[in-house]
Assembly symmetry: C2
């Protein structure tokens, strides 16, 4: 059964969205029977991917549909429990691949909350009104402010090491020391106890920002939300854009949306993702954009591409290569880029730019080989050229193909290639590409407005290989076949290392240092073996560990 | 059989050290039958831990015993082959724990070469006089300059992904993109081909610095070494310090050196590492230090501690906790610290400081829980206080113990805590500790010269817990027992995440991003399963892969 990432508030089973003027309340109230699979119950606000798909949708809609919201309160709709974290039985039953992809998505969702705080002025706070364990605390950690109820039962904890023999899977360790800057020895203590920390010590150790007795909780929340809303830089106005349901048709080997289509070749273990340029130039002004709504080209493409990547990641585990192609009139893409650049101060334009940035980041951390083919009829210009720079390799045709009377392909840069779409480690893809000589970024920038042919693009270092018609088919076929024959594990590790050149940020550390170690642990018998902690959890039997340190 | 890390040039079987004035030649000429275990032959200058133990020793002796050396040429003593990398059969036969520890040590050895270049003015260059594959190229990558012979047979390659289904295990991927700044798509191509890259393309892609025809190789080497020696900042003079053999006695549960001793409690899976203060104050001047030679306290302690850590890592895999203790007169430790601070411009003092830095770094990346106990009679001051800050947790006694008439323990800082011993990510341990408020580093600095009792140390944030005599035994016993009961994998991952707060460097990326992914891959059936690539290598059978991407 294919997992669908599309949803909308009327279909939520696990979250309630409530509004009080500038403040939104995002209430977790998990339906224990509403998990993705049978075989486990989502008790105590524990979650599986189904719960996170709704959370991801809610965060997104708050940004696009609610320009008035300046503060979001994440809280629980249940008594005495905030959230018990990822469901352990679900983890125990899941394949390694599902666990890894589940954690990747939940990490992206947490990062989306932080992105909304930082770049859209929707400041998140957690009102922790009960026990808050593991992934529950990681959810709170992704907000800007954690308020913990001060009673005997309520605490925050990361009991994974003590109870489950794994790590917190959603950035917890990194956020504890790198975001909240909890002292490392305090963190060591905190991360090795089951019972968690509450009250004044939780504040003193920076695990939460403040505590409030139950009787004063509502008042304190009101006070803080007022403060955060006042401090917010959100400049939303008007009614917002309704994110209409995405039109999608799926059959065995294809997925079709309006501008994006996916074609799967199972023999080569390859999915071709094709993006169509807009049919016309960008609207003349903001009113024109608002009239187009969710069908405004960059927004629709971002949503379709996002859904396609998520679908392939979780439902098509044997696909080794994602091949990006494009077609249509590049001038129209550039017209939209110019619109996004000229109107960047508008709140909705900002949201669309930030969203495209997140979709491109999602591609960067996708563990499949990424290839971009720049062929006649393609339109890898501006925003779409980022797919050339996100790729592990790109190929561009020199001249035309025999029997094809379309002009040779060209590549063209726009302002969108020089800032708005940084990678998770803080550099643009071109900065990351040109670490050896930053002046190469300036050389590239100087070509803005010029259509570059394959040899020019190769000389500027913008593509990997320029090939002529004689070599094209063979070279690319051999590359695809060879790549698909390699160990997927080795490729995953290799690509994760080569893609992120240079500095690291908290975000990139989560995907590198933390996730890599977690994947290792998720593979170890001490966690997933028959006597391992994940399998034995809740059985009354203690796990048996091989005590060898490595 | 216990693996011994102690060696000396007269016992080398795999390397030759030759000297021509300011230039040393470090020639790899592996004795195929001289591996650590039987069952594999070290053909084509492939290596196992035995080879690397000698290399580590040679790099160290060059710094201490050869003040005149300003340039080191790493080359091969064999025809047509530089180095084929780590021996695959050895990897195929090794346990996961051995593989991981082997890679950790080889990584530290490569970093020691870079440290010698950067901080001792011994500039390394590789003269690649033949095929240079995998770990062979990684060895070259650790030098500052790679010269490749320009002939049909000689190339550089990282064939791990294509041939073995694993990653280069000694920093190769990171150094290719982060040190040599090879463009990421070029790196992707290079790291997925078996046959490697040679000649002009190797230069154009920044994989090597220059090429030289065989006939001109010697001349080119002479030219470069002259240039590097002239540019070197090495200020060595005199005869150097002979690194006399370390005295060590081992029995089943202890290791004893002159100032360092290790006592193993197998029931608790704990090793106590105890360090003794010098018996007297530091010598009055440089001549006094030189007269003491290898028994100069900081040098002897660094060597003993280094050996003890390496021994425990590779020979005592079931030990979960390393507990640091110290005893003796702290005033003498501070006297040596003052000497190291006052004479830091002297080449040998510099070497000793740099070495202590490396030993502490080795402790930081040791995957055992690190605990420091500050008890009556201890001398955790200055340099030794770094062991308090390197620990995952520290405990300090308030007051004295009943029936013990020694004074309460104290902690005291010196200049050595504020710069000379940075961690691999570039911060001092105190900077790393006080990320939340950098002014806490200044507060600590203001106490220099003052002996701090447990409550003062706790208030300053220098220790984790101050306990009185009533709680001490129970609290510590419970902590030890609990810690030793946790999944060692989970602890390894947790500690690797909590210890390195804040920025990352190339060095820390090697241990975090790269090593973590490699450990994951080393655990996967596609690499180490019966049909996996490491097992099937050389058998004539192709590996069978599970093609699921995760």
């Amino acid at each position: 059964m294919s997992i669908d990432f599309r949803t909308e508030p009327s279909r939520y089973r696990h979250w309630r969205l409530e509004f009080e003027g500038e403040v939104a309340f995002l209430k977790m109230d998990v339906d224990a029977g509403g998990g993705l699979s049978s075989g486990y119950e989502l008790k105590l606000n524990s979650y599986d991917l189904a719960v996170d798909i709704e959370l991801n949708d809610a965060i997104q809609r708050l940004r696009f549909e609610h320009p008035e919201v300046r503060c979001v309160v994440l809280t629980s709709g249940k008594d005495n429990v905030f959230c018990a974290g990822a469901n352990i039985r679900m983890l125990g039953k899941s394949t390694h691949g599902h666990k890894v992809n589940f954690c990747k998505f939940t990490n992206e969702t947490r990062l989306a909350m932080e992105d909304a705080s930082a770049n859209s002025g929707q400041i998140y706070m957690a009102a922790v009104n009960g026990a808050c364990a593991g992934g529950g605390y990681e959810l709170a950690l992704a907000t800007d402010h954690i308020m913990l109820i001060d009673d005997r039962r309520s605490n925050v904890s990361l009991p994974e090491t003590a109870l489950l023999g794994v790590l917190p899977g959603t950035g917890g360790l990194t956020r504890v020391v790198d975001k909240r800057k909890v002292r490392r020895d305090h963190a060591d203590f905190f991360c090795t106890i089951e019972e968690g920390i509450k009250g004044k010590r939780a504040v003193a150790w920076r695990l939460v920002d403040e505590i409030a007795p139950n009787s004063k909780l509502e008042g304190k929340i009101a006070e803080r939300t007022k403060e955060f809303a006042a401090a917010s830089k959100r400049n939303g106005n008007g009614k917002g854009i309704a994110l209409a349901p995405l039109n999608r048709t799926i059959d065995e080997n294809s997925v079709r949306y309006g501008f994006v289509s996916v074609d799967i070749d199972r023999a080569v273990r390859m999915a071709t993702i094709s993006i169509k340029a807009p049919d016309a130039a960008a609207p003349a002004d903001i009113d024109g954009m608002i009239a187009q709504g969710a069908s405004f080209w960059p927004l629709q493409v971002a949503r379709e591409l996002d859904d396609a990547i998520l679908h392939l990641r979780i439902n098509e585990l044997e696909i080794a290569l994602l091949v990006f192609k494009s077609h249509g009139d590049g001038a129209n893409v550039l017209s939209y880029d110019a619109f996004l650049d000229a109107n960047k101060a508008h709140w909705l334009v900002n949201e669309i730019r930030q969203y495209f940035k997140r979709v491109l980041k999602r591609i960067d951390v996708t563990s499949r080989t990424l290839v971009t083919l720049v062929e006649p009829g393609s339109c890898f210009v501006g925003t779409l050229a980022e797919l050339v720079f996100a790729a592990d390799r790109s190929y561009m045709l020199i001249g035309s193909r025999q029997g094809d009377n379309r002009p040779p392909p060209s590549l063209q840069l726009s302002a969108m290639n020089f800032g708005p779409y940084p990678m998770s480690h803080g550099l643009t893809r071109l900065q990351s590409r040109f670490q050896a000589d930053p002046s190469d970024v300036e050389r590239a920038e100087a070509t803005m407005g010029t259509a570059l042919d394959a040899e020019e693009a190769e000389e500027l270092g913008l593509i990997t290989f320029a090939l002529d018609d004689i070599d094209w088919d063979d070279e690319i076929r051999v590359f695809f076949e060879e790549r698909a024959s390699f160990s997927p594990d080795s490729l995953t590790g290799m690509e994760a290392n080569l893609r992120f050149v240079g500095p690291e940020t908290m975000e990139s550390k989560i995907f590198a240092r933390l996730t890599a170690w977690q994947n290792w642990i998720f593979q170890r018998p001490n966690a997933v073996g028959e006597d391992g902690a994940l399998r034995r959890y809740g059985s009354g039997q203690k796990p048996k560990y091989d005590m060898t340190r490595v």
